[in-house]
Assembly symmetry: C2
Homo-oligomer: 585 residues x 2
């Protein structure tokens, strides 16, 4: 097995040769400049220097290392600087901002690449004996702070799972698949596809994340409306802990006491390393359609989505943008595409006749999957409901554009970071009756908290991942950075958004995990006794606290920790960003 999935670039999203192509989206930067009131134009391309990053002093336990070498080969143990930097963080705003400013405090001392469950078992056993911290690492796409080293004084290993990437068994008749947990999205779908099935899990991070990572963080794919969240797909798993392997049976449903699958799901690397899972899969759908619609206003679209749910015909995917996100989507369109043409000229006139005020219009993207006859019928029924709520069909073009670019959104943040703009997201879920109140409150809070740092706010929202009782509500925000106050600005806004979720009956995250970013709200979310229960499991399975310490366990003053930590020291280096400016080409 020589091929293994590439690492993402350490200073941003995606492979090193991939980035946001501003020429392909000519309307985007003018839109951003306008809404964020950016006047500068002199942003030079930056070249990131790995050796500018200050890494923590290596903390190496020789006996541990000797032990590792007794059962791992040389390619499985890596301590070079680039490896350490790549494994230092996930891809949250704080993560990228710190690395771009030379702060590598989250980096492990060593990266280990297990190739089998046995490798994982032996590594954990050795680590437990020598009090070495182990942080499980999938694709490194997490944006909630699940991956960085929290204890500089303890030797820390990043356990990179990407070599455990086999589909072990597909039971096509039962639609189940047993797979190693380090498998990446594309690899997984390719291997399943060869057997005529699909997992149906396509998170935004699909290209750069793993099955084990999805399970450990309770990920949601774009088509969760049809296929469920990842926790709904797990039939059985094997999780390696310092105390041994927790293994369950691949059965559809059980009454076997407390469902121990759910102790592993969402454990965020704190209890063990998910080595393998047996997942529900689906016969590949005969047909997939993506359709888009425009609604006069946000409320009507939400009602239409809800009505489809009531009638038990929810599309496989729903992504419904509020006016701000709709404007962003339109600005993002490729040059002179059929889509952009449609929205311009004749179509605009048509919309005006229909009573649409474009600044209020909201774009709905939907996908349908299944047999051709079922999809045709569902499309007809859904569209009838949408029309009843005043929607106008945009045809398939916006949908096709979405299909092509759906994994590209994270690149925008890098592009904007290069232009001193902070963007991030906070997402949640709530019941139907609370969606609009929560939306209004949180949008107001986002705008005012950004404005409080003296810059023009931009905030938008989309509804997605619908359920019988409610949906996910996903906020995106952007703001011009005040030099030297970037993290302070970010924390102020992020805290306001999360607090709004808590104050208005929502959850701290629908699918981005707790990590460090949402930790201060965990006791509010699951009650102090819920935290105590999680701590009890931790004590039982990882008594030495070697696995991803600091997660799922809020300290006595979690906001102090949240506001401090090495991210507040990012200006230790004298000159701001540790980059060399390339002479512009």
């Amino acid at each position: 097995m020589t091929y293994e999935p590439r690492h993402m670039k350490w200073w941003g999203w995606g492979n090193e040769d991939a980035q946001f192509n501003a020429q392909a989206h000519p309307g985007f930067w003018p839109y951003a400049k306008t809404v964020l009131t950016i006047e500068r134009e002199d942003f030079s391309p930056r070249e990131w220097k790995l050796d500018a990053i200050e890494l923590p002093d290596r903390c190496i336990d020789d006996r541990f290392l000797t032990r590792l070498r007794s059962f791992l080969n040389a390619t499985q143990i890596n301590d070079d600087c680039k490896e350490r930097v790549i494994h230092a963080y996930g891809k949250g705003f704080r993560d990228l901002f710190r690395l771009r400013h030379g702060i590598g405090g989250g980096a492990p001392d060593l990266v280990v690449y297990p190739e089998s469950e046995r490798d994982v078992c032996l590594t954990l056993r050795a680590a437990a004996e020598r009090d070495v911290v182990v942080i499980p690492f999938g694709g490194g796409s997490n944006i909630s702070g699940c991956l960085e080293r929290m204890e500089p004084a303890r030797m820390t290993v990043s356990l990179d799972m990407r070599r455990m990437r086999k589909v072990l068994q597909v039971d096509r008749a039962s639609c189940t698949a047993r797979m190693e947990a380090g498998i990446f999205g594309p690899d997984l779908e390719q291997q399943l596809s060869a057997q005529g099935v699909t997992l149906g899990h396509f998170p935004d991070s699909f290209l750069h994340s793993t099955l084990g990572g999805w399970i450990a963080t309770r990920s949601a794919g774009m088509q969760s409306d049809k296929y469920g969240k990842i926790e709904d797909m797990v039939l059985a798993l094997r999780m390696v802990t310092p105390e041994g392997v927790l293994a369950t049976r691949a059965v559809p449903k059980s009454s076997n006491g407390i469902d121990v699958n759910h102790l592993c799901i969402g454990s965020e690397g704190t209890l063990g390393v998910i080595a393998e899972a047996t997942m529900r899969v689906h016969l590949k759908p005969e047909t997939r359609l993506v359709k888009s619609y425009l609604f006069r206003e946000f409320e009507a679209g939400i009602e239409a989505i809800h009505e489809c749910m009531r009638q038990e015909i929810p599309p496989a995917m729903v992504r419904f943008n509020d006016p701000a996100k709709t404007a962003l989507s339109l600005a993002f369109r490729p040059p002179s595409s059929a889509y952009s043409d449609a929205v311009s000229s004749i179509f605009k006139k048509y919309l005006r006749v229909k009573g649409f005020e474009l600044p209020q219009a909201c774009l709905m993207l939907t996908a349908y999957e299944g047999s051709t006859s079922a999809v045709t019928r569902q499309l007809r029924e859904v569209q009838a409901i949408y029309r009843r709520y005043g929607a106008v069909s945009m045809g398939a073009t916006a949908g096709k554009s979405f299909e092509v670019t759906k994994y590209d959104f994270p690149y925008i943040r890098d592009f904007l970071l290069d232009r001193d703009v902070t963007t991030d997201v906070s997402e949640t879920s709530t019941v139907w009756s609370n969606i609009l109140p929560l939306y209004n409150e949180t949008m107001a809070v986002l705008r005012s908290s950004i404005a409080e740092s003296g810059v023009q706010p931009w905030a938008g929202c989309h509804i997605s991942h619908t359920y019988q009782s409610g949906a996910s509500v996903y906020f995106t925000f952007g703001l011009r950075q005040r030099p030297g106050r970037e993290i302070e600005q970010y924390l102020h806004v992020k805290r306001a958004a999360q607090q709004s979720f808590m104050d208005h009956g929502a959850t701290l995250s629908h699918h981005h995990a707790v990590g460090t970013e949402h930790l201060p709200w965990l006791a509010d979310e699951i009650s102090p006794l819920g935290v105590q229960a999680v701590a009890a499991i931790k004590n039982g399975l990882d008594p030495g606290n070697i696995l991803n310490p600091g997660r799922l366990m809020p300290s006595s003053d979690p906001f102090r920790d949240w506001m401090s930590g090495d991210w507040m020291n990012m200006h230790r280096p004298a000159q701001g960003p540790r980059v060399a400016t390339r002479s512009s080409a």
Copy 2:
């Protein structure tokens, strides 16, 4: 609040005035006699004497009792013999057999009826301080041994939740309902129905079980195919533990770390008392249809069910009987009903023309729920598939008969116990590809293990509760008792069935809980480390082990405990069953 649901009779199922009506099912006893080779006819009606039951010596902690009296009123504390006997066990075979033989060793010292979460909190706090055991009690319908006292030396309280029976809040728009956990099925549905919604959870025990009991045991209702198992319906809950209240938020889905709802669901009373839950509910369906079909053989029907699942059109309920259970169902039919008429004469001839061998024929019951148009369409599509697999429609009559009698099956066991026949069930779930192998193996094992005690075996099976990846497989068995060896016979058969599940990749129970009956297989099921994880949670939330001790924690030699215990001493009383024979009326 004066009304509260009545207790079931202590010697059997249902209210004291309800029992199996042999006249209404004239074919049943002749069928049973034939298949079990029973020659006796001289079974006299029995009258069960409460005072014949040997109860454990009362173990009362006066300081605990004084404390209870400080916050509970006189009606909330009860220690009379009948109350103790009613709360001694659930309704498993061993339970009924022991009480009918005067063995009341499972009885608590005291029954407490909390009326609020505060009552529960204060009771648990007092119990923890005084090392008093608390066994949460819903309707007492459990058949897996979840309810009996395991430690005679510790004062034991049965905490009967039936007074906590309010629907607290219905959010009709979001289809959620917050309810106290002691509410019984009929009360719950009546209160929800007044607001136009239904929980959609109708287990066989519906009339005699509670929301909290369903959650604590991971119950499944007949329509789980459409509405899910109870664990799929819980949005949030409040569980009172000796350490405080664990409370979660009512959101559709979350990524908040380990899902602590799932620590409470299935905890079988070992961690805390579920006081309240917010559940997904559904708008009441416009239409409900029940239809029945006859298949030529078992395999074809299973294929047909699976094909409906593949095409994403599973009926809301499926109950598909193998030949033995089909014969039992036909024997169970009311006298000269349209159903029985249909199966006789002309219809029989028709079936013969169609190539049906009646001893091989298999009866399928299905229900459809939803909008009239959706139900009509689904029925058409399902029937087309069934026909393709050779099914013949039986029309609505068998279905109507099922609707009327669906909660009556448990009464049969009492009727047969009165006639020295042991019946019980073992049920499991497995993936589609394993259903037939598991069925064949387990049927063979059931028959041979019964035959080994020298009596004629009867075993039957039905498939129900279907999922994308598989279904529940539910075995029923019956055998003539060998006097003095009844429990030995039962244990031999029960063990063989459960071991077959383990040996053939199934689960220890799909919806009947672990209790004591399935405890020896728990470590096989969830791995020793899974058991260790559950023990860790227990240590964290109930460090004094006051809550339902002995459950979910297999001892070092679980089979020894399973085979021994006071059930093996049932013949201490000299004369066999402690009953007075009524002079026949």
